[in-house]
């Protein structure tokens, strides 16, 4: 199993949080070093704007530092940070009122037919077919192309690895809505990635 964010050395982390709660800026900076990449990526995915993402990163950690005494340790520190970052990112989205600010409650087409057009086996090791940089670019672009209603759910569930319940609460959606959006997001991404990763030189049913 691939180890997710925040699953390493929980004891160590509790000690860092306790030190930071006493005002230890060094301990808090260590927490920044651990999680800033993930928070920055999350903010970029939700806001779709690099400048907004920089602001969200800064605001998230500043708010976390200010409110650190309120952190009770009932959830993981990382989940608590994500909660702040999602709220800050959604606020940016609402302020911008661009295409990206489409409501997360926007109705969407529920038809599955269009999601399963590309049926082709993949190369057994897609990660070996291109460089790490190229791979990251392909994955980022595919996520960016998702409509916001699917993107936020996918980012929280499959990239940041939050639970269905946490995702529902953060995005103010019902659990069935999270589940159906995640299914459509996964199928859309699968479809997009198939164009890059399908096994070369074989017919559609080359595996038969």
């Amino acid at each position: 199993m691939i180890q997710g964010v925040g699953q390493t050395s929980e004891f160590d982390e509790a000690a860092l949080v306790a030190q930071a709660q006493q005002g230890g800026v060094e301990a808090f900076t260590e927490l920044v070093n651990r999680y800033e990449r993930n928070i920055f990526r999350l903010a970029r995915h939700i806001t779709q704007n690099p400048e907004d993402a920089e602001d969200v990163l800064q605001e998230t950690f500043m708010k976390a530092y200010e409110h650190l005494v309120d952190f009770q340790g009932n959830s993981k520190f990382y989940t608590w940070l994500v909660r702040i970052a999602v709220n800050q990112s959604l606020m940016k989205l609402r302020k911008r009122k661009t295409d990206a600010s489409v409501s997360l409650d926007e109705p969407f087409d529920t038809g599955e037919e269009s999601l399963t057009r590309e049926i082709a086996v993949w190369d057994p090791n897609p990660e070996l077919t291109c460089s790490r940089e190229e791979m990251r670019e392909i994955l980022e672009k595919a996520v960016e192309s998702l409509p916001p209603v699917f993107r936020s759910v996918f980012v929280l569930r499959d990239i940041e690895e939050l639970s269905t319940e946490e995702t529902a609460e953060l995005l103010n959606l019902s659990i069935p809505a999270v589940k159906s959006r995640l299914l459509r997001a996964r199928l859309r991404l699968r479809e997009k990635l198939t164009r890059y990763f399908k096994r070369k030189g074989e017919d559609l049913f080359g595996y038969m």
Partner: protein, 80 residues
């Protein structure tokens, strides 16, 4: 009898190992008979695995420094 449509609607529960044992067996029966669903299932599983293994871009050093400096400044202020 599980149809392709049924399979697709249960795909996430199947991949996330959240379905009941008897449902899992029925889905696996369908998978063994339906090459299209097998491909969709396999490639969706790989999609999720690839994203879970994706590394985040580093935060630009200037952005990191701005944050750390702001925190230090904040720390120097007396707490209310």
């Amino acid at each position: 009898m599980v149809t392709c449509k049924d399979f697709l609607s249960e795909l996430n529960e199947y991949l996330d190992d959240e379905c009941r044992e008897e449902v899992r067996k029925e889905l696996e029966n369908h998978l063994s008979e339906c090459p299209n669903c097998w491909v969709i299932c396999d490639t969706t599983k790989k999609t999720v695995e690839i994203y879970r293994g994706m590394e985040a871009y580093p935060v630009p050093p200037a952005v990191h420094d701005r944050l750390v400096n702001a925190l230090r400044k904040k720390c120097e202020q007396p707490r209310s």
